[in-house]
Subunit: 210 residues, 2 copies
């Protein structure tokens, strides 16, 4: 394995180990010792990649943005719906994303810049809504920034509640329910019956490797 | 001051002191020593009221339910809107309610029974929606449990986001935005134009003493 590959691999190991520890303990109670033990790496290897616990948390928060995969859809509003459903599915399984959300939701001595990770999601959704609006998919007069903020805020709470009630197993269902409730006040009447509020079944040949 | 009054007063002192400490530090990092120092009471006085830190947290969570004040409104759906707006205002100022929400949202070694505090809010709103439906205020076919869960979940996330962006100063505005978005998919067309999505100005003679 070349030196660069080893570097990428050990960085990923640290992030995954840290994600588990942050997800279990929260930021303040997590220790770099525990992260090292879990990753089975030396302190030198850790500091080579991250100067501090805060730097690891910041890298995890950045993973949030990378998880925002915009699916291609002819109807742009469908892409917004599928973006949230895809994010919900990833939250069920991806330890890095789960930790990133816990870091974003909880108050701790780690203060992520306010523009991440909420702002990343808000901007991504607002851009899509603008395209949807230009294609005539939205009701006239829709306040795009307000709707984008409301969708991201509501999603945040649904995932908190879903975690408590079902360890996020019912999250996609809760996100579908949100869309059923808000679409009549958002989508133009011509588009409304064409929208699907549940996830499409995954294609057999699709692979979700990172 | 009679003995009973003193008891009520010291219980309230403990809850307020604990609320501040939990709100600042979260459950796990909060210590009963710090709560005692803040309340200026002895350990004996504390244990007279609460056998453990967990018992204090449970009492704070119960305060959630007491904050759900249903305003009287001829249009029941207006009462639901006003309930959420009133709760948003209280969250801006009431330390006990703020702590209760932090305990409910964050993962910690304190695990509140899953039926509180979300279930209290869901039940209160679902009951109101049922009355609203009986009065013909809702669109036919509205799934009452699903809508109640979606409103409570969305509110939860809006308050998390509002806390991060503005220390909850913009929370009532965010709750109004949620209602503007969901009402067209919830209220019957005859009721929709009669609904107010912002809080009425507080009456001069109203007092909110607990």
């Amino acid at each position: 394995m070349a030196r660069q590959e080893r570097g990428i691999r050990s960085r990923r190991l640290i992030l995954e180990a840290a994600a588990h520890v942050f997800d279990e303990r929260g930021y303040d109670a997590a220790s770099t010792n525990e992260i090292l033990a879990r990753a089975d790496l030396t302190r030198g290897a850790l500091y080579h990649h991250f100067p501090s616990k805060e730097a690891i948390a910041t890298a995890l928060i950045e993973a949030h943005g990378q998880a925002l995969v915009v699916p291609h859809q002819e109807v742009v509003l469908q892409a917004v719906i599928d973006l949230t459903l895809g994010f919900a599915r990833q939250l069920q399984h991806d330890p890095i994303l789960r930790a990133s959300v816990r870091l974003a939701v909880e108050q701790s001595s780690f203060a992520p810049p306010t523009n991440t990770p909420y702002q990343q999601s808000i901007t991504a959704i607002e851009d899509l809504l603008r395209r949807a609006s230009q294609q005539g998919e939205l009701l006239p007069g829709t306040n795009l920034p307000e709707v984008a903020q409301t969708i991201v805020g509501s999603f945040t709470g649904l995932q908190v509640m879903s975690q408590i009630y079902s360890d996020r197993q019912d999250l996609p269902e809760r996100v579908s329910a949100l869309w059923r409730l808000i679409l009549p006040g958002l989508a133009s009447p011509g588009i409304l019956p064409r929208l699907r509020t549940t996830a499409p079944p995954p294609a057999d040949d699709s692979r979700q490797d990172g």
